[in-house]
Symmetry: C2
Subunit: 678 residues, 2 copies
């Protein structure tokens, strides 16, 4: 390891500061890591062996050691704390997020200020007296919120809503925290007033007595049980049977229902979308963080593990990382982790900017159109990136796990659990396929606007030069010219423009054939999916290249190499499109392939310092194969013995004894004297 560390041509600490956004933030993160490591409820060494019930109980214990920071720390700092926690205990992060992100977030986003104050006074902020969950999804209904079946019928006589689950498929399902924790929920239900349906709105419903935890009348709750991962969160199902709540429990910031049963709908329904974006941005950031963790484990192990001799003259076996193929497996994933890191930072900025605009704009303001455009762009961008980054990171975790060989199958080496915990990101808070299609739909609409002459925002700025791009030959005169950020960016621009054009043209053809816009969008779904995917590659490369340009001078050479690797590897993986649209010739593509190997070798030289710069402590990594000092075998063996002590009682001795002594115990057939004549 020290031999690998000596290879650094840059200051590792400086890179850490750059990644974290400054020394100050590095110090804060280090403080968080240390605080977690000290907290006995956050002990990690036995986490791979605890049962579902144990981990749920422990998750509950953790609330107490964290909850006071909610009010004591400024939001951005507390967000950093939670990001740190999500790296080692995604189950807790989810359970905490269910209350603060979803339940409390719904209050903040959809309650009037009087309603908000009321629930804060009941303990919703301090988590003192109540704890909430978020009842949106139903057994038969997920992404299509408008299709939910649960009803909220206004009863004018009593000034109450009646919340009801009419069918089995209307059962609220997957509700995090519902099984055993929540006393209250925000429930999404079809608002019905005087027999008329007004669509899905949200209502606060009490589920349990806050002292005895017995269920309230009309409430039926059960445990969803075992999951692929994140067992720390007690997902449950809920059925409502004519549950009555005061009218004022409907969250009325947007739609209002008066005492007399008059329904007033909001002027701009789009403004409520903001709430969905936060979770997606968090998952983009989480993708970068988890990708870094996976690469740290796989990368450090590859510097220690030796296997075969690459030359018959070698005395020792060769380090995994010195094989070309291992470099090809790992170095692009390292580059991708850097790319996703910078993408996460920029996506967070995009979101913060949107929130500023939303808070400072009122309906009727002159700046309203600009705010709506920003909302539309941020919504589509975060949707596309959430899908792209979570998919890619899930694949990266599995690829890293497999580079550990057989040891990747051990729970203690960490990546199996990481995979199982992370996988949910691909389907929750917007299924990835649906989000990608939405992003593709946005691209088609931008393309059509651009054709009509409307300038497009930065994220899709390539659409502002459609005529040029669609007719552009490759800007590289020699092969070496390809090794230039501007050329790579142009290459992605040209290819993306073509792929988006394909989707847009398919859409146009369907429209002209008389289809409805919905049917036309459906018809071009595969083209939309491809467009969104290719767009994301180009978008992320731009974010990465931009970050490299803004890096301190001493870091630029190494980051430039990593960025080239990301760009060239991504082109290689999508070679079909670059050849299809003739941006690169087959011989240029051969050059790109060869350069991927060259940059794998280059990045390999300093890959351990590049990993060290992520600055995760051994506690955070929680894998003996990823320890900083490289003493992997001893720590792995220790971990296995600690969790599975030698000796002790045999778990099924009588069973195996009776199996191996069947001659004695089994029924012998009665001997047949007639045949037994000897």
């Amino acid at each position: 390891m020290s031999e690998e560390r000596e290879k650094a041509t840059f200051d590792v600490r400086e890179l850490t500061y750059f990644l974290d956004g400054g020394e100050k933030f590095t110090k804060i993160r280090e403080k968080f890591m240390m605080e977690l490591e000290r907290d006995p409820t956050f002990r990690m060494y036995d986490m791979y062996d605890v049962t579902k019930d144990q981990i749920r109980e422990r998750t509950m214990e953790k609330f107490r050691t964290i909850v006071h920071y909610v009010s004591a720390e400024p939001v951005p700092i507390f967000t950093m704390r939670m990001q740190t926690i999500s790296l080692i205990d995604p189950g807790f992060w989810t359970r905490f997020g269910v209350h603060y992100g979803l339940f409390f977030g719904a209050l903040r986003g959809s309650a009037t200020s009087a309603q908000f104050s009321h629930w804060v006074s009941k303990g919703a902020l301090a988590l003192n007296g109540m704890v909430g969950c978020f009842a949106m999804t139903e057994l038969g209904h997920g992404s299509n919120v408008a299709g939910l079946e649960t009803t909220a019928t206004f009863d004018e006589a009593s000034d109450q809503f009646i919340i009801h689950t009419p069918t089995i498929t209307a059962t609220k399902w997957w509700i995090g925290g519902a099984a055993h924790t929540a006393t209250h929920t925000v429930v999404f239900a079809q608002l019905i007033v005087r027999g008329k349906r007004y669509g899905t709105k949200s209502f606060v419903v009490q589920l349990r007595d806050t002292r005895t935890y017995t269920l309230m009348p009309g409430i039926n709750i059960g445990d969803i049980g075992k999951k692929m991962g994140r067992d720390g969160i007690d997902n449950g199902w809920i059925q409502f049977t004519n549950v009555r709540i005061p009218r004022t429990n409907m969250l009325m910031k947007h739609t209002k229902v008066s005492r007399a049963g008059e329904v007033k709908e909001p002027p701009m329904a789009q403004l409520t979308y903001g709430a969905l974006i936060q979770g997606r941005v968090a998952m983009v950031v989480d993708s970068g963080n988890i990708a870094k963790k996976a690469v740290t484990i796989a990368g450090r192990y590859a510097a220690v593990r030796r296997q075969f001799q690459s030359s018959p003259h070698d005395v020792q076996e060769t380090k995994l990382i010195d094989y070309a193929i291992h470099q090809y497996r790992l170095m692009p994933l390292l580059a991708q982790a850097y790319a996703f890191h910078f993408t996460g930072v920029e996506t967070q900025k995009l979101y913060d900017n949107l929130m500023d605009k939303l808070e400072s704009t009122q309906p009727g303001d002159a700046s309203m159109q600009d705010t709506l455009d920003t909302l539309k762009e941020t919504h589509a961008t975060s949707a596309g990136l959430k899908a792209f980054c979570t998919w890619s990171t899930l694949n990266a975790i599995e690829a890293c796990r497999q580079t550990l060989g057989g040891h990747g199958y051990s729970a203690y080496t960490g990546l199996a659990t990481t995979y199982n915990d992370f996988a949910v990101h691909c389907t929750w808070e917007g299924d990835n396929t649906i989000l990608t299609l939405q992003s593709g739909r946005y691209l088609v609409s931008c393309y059509r606007e651009a054709l009509a002459g409307k300038a497009q925002p930065e994220g899709v700025s390539y659409l502002n030069h459609l005529d040029t791009l669609l007719n552009l030959g490759c800007g590289a005169k020699t092969n070496e010219d390809i090794l230039n950020f501007d050329i790579i960016q142009e290459a992605w621009g040209v290819v993306t423009a073509n792929v988006v054009k394909k989707a847009g043209d398919d859409f146009e053809v369907s429209l002209k054939a008389g289809m409805s816009p919905e049917a036309a969008y459906e018809e071009c779904s595969q083209a939309r999916l491809a467009a969104a995917k290719i767009h994301s590659f180009g978008y992320i490369f731009r974010r990465f290249a931009q970050a490299v340009k803004s890096a301190p001078e001493g870091l630029r050479p190494i980051l430039t190499k990593v960025c080239f690797l990301y760009g060239l590897y991504s082109i290689e993986q999508n070679a079909g499109f670059f050849l299809q649209y003739r941006y690169f010739t087959p011989s240029q593509m051969d050059f790109v392939r060869a350069q991927v190997n060259v940059f794998c070798r280059e990045v390999r030289q300093e890959y351990i310092p590049l990993i060290d710069a992520f600055n995760y402590s051994d506690y955070m990594i929680n894998s003996p194969l990823g320890v900083y000092d490289g003493n992997v075998y001893e720590k792995y063996f220790d971990q296995v013995k600690r969790q599975n002590p030698v000796g002790g009682e045999h778990p099924y001795l009588p069973l195996i004894q009776s199996l191996l002594r069947r001659d004695i115990e089994d029924d012998e057939p009665l001997e047949d004297d007639e045949e037994d004549e000897e």
Copy 2:
């Protein structure tokens, strides 16, 4: 569902017979499924909730209900029984396979006939009196068997071998059945006689007293503990400290050590490779079977689940499977499952043919060269296919899991566990990357032989027409001409020839530059990896197309469609190579892409009957989302409630009560009288 079943244009039962190899075999499989379902130790409904200790105990119980079939049933029939079991309980399949496939297989393959009889008389076949495990892998050594550290030193004085673990990295690791089950092991160790090393050989060592299960002197064993999946098998680690065994416990079919310490090495070491192939063939077959199971679950759910309206005029929400994008996600996976099924059948035949030849050929026979060629081909083919099929199937399981949306994250819907159980196939019995490189190495050597004029076997027959293929333009004059098995086969032939040529040429260049063959192979690893992957696609398409041609007439139309979908989708996924080598033009590639959609729609018409033909009972599928009658929600809800009964005690009531009542219980600060002046 019945509406979907009515769409069949073929006889589903006839297709099942065709897949199974005849009505007779279908009946046998159905008998096995029924027998398993009846066996209480094979109850499956609670399998997603059992702990590691419980599942290990239950696995042990199952031995008793299965073991007598080993001697009662002919090998091919018993193999079918085990294939059936592996579908529902891969953990048991592994534990059983450790004894019969690995331990007993090693005896059969490496023991002399006298040794073999001896161990059979001790109960190795009947599993009565002893049970074995297979101690090859070490903590620091996996795929490189030659690099193992454990030693077996001959002590002439006592006529014994001393088995010893010299370092921590030499600890035997991952040994299935070692933790609690095995009484004996076959251990791989470096043979040392009179100070000279003879490489890795195998030895039988007793680990435990067969009655009391106490460890034998010098043996130290521990439990490897929690894994990603297959917790039914008790993997362990073993350390040997100067353990003495009789000389005759060395398996001496090949290498022999005499009483006087003379070592006689076998004339043809290659002949021992045969043993490795069996496991790989089993995994190719398992890939097809598990792929069919995953597609059954995802496919049936997609016919029931409804989401959004694809047109505003629809009354009901639209079935998932009626969305173009859902067809694009699922139909190619269905086609791949068929492709892998037929590939498995053919690979099994290849293996059986090899075994026949190996048994009938003696060193010195005229047919020896032919047998060695067959061995080489079967070895490389099974290595490449094991890697390709297990990787593709693992991805297919995850892709199917994600098509279930949020429900895919529930343990009860089955695919999460299937993923975790299956994942080990990618790294054990030959890590997939290493196997793929071996397969690429074989292709390079075949290419060089072909250049030198030597005729190549069927699997790489395209290399026999190198000159033609490398200069061949696309045989399709019109776009429609592409829809022809011969053209698709030719397309793969041309592209594979080019990719193999690239690897071969890179190898040649390195050789000419003075590198050793080893170094030259290392230099072209990425090209070898690509060559092996592309080769596999073409190989599998040929197997599928062949099977379609041999199918009964009534089945040919539907199977032709499924085969086209597999071929065209595979081309689309590898578009870069087809454009790179100019077999297809960009506009032909657009046609291929469009046809993928067309065939997705076509296959979708009869996809439920195509799934029904796999003929897995609901018990075998073990997922409420994949039930035959389509009553998914009710069965899913029932399963969740059965495993997590409503009511009962709250698992952490005091904890949550104290959290929510902090105002009462927490220390209040002492009031400061000076400031309290009101």
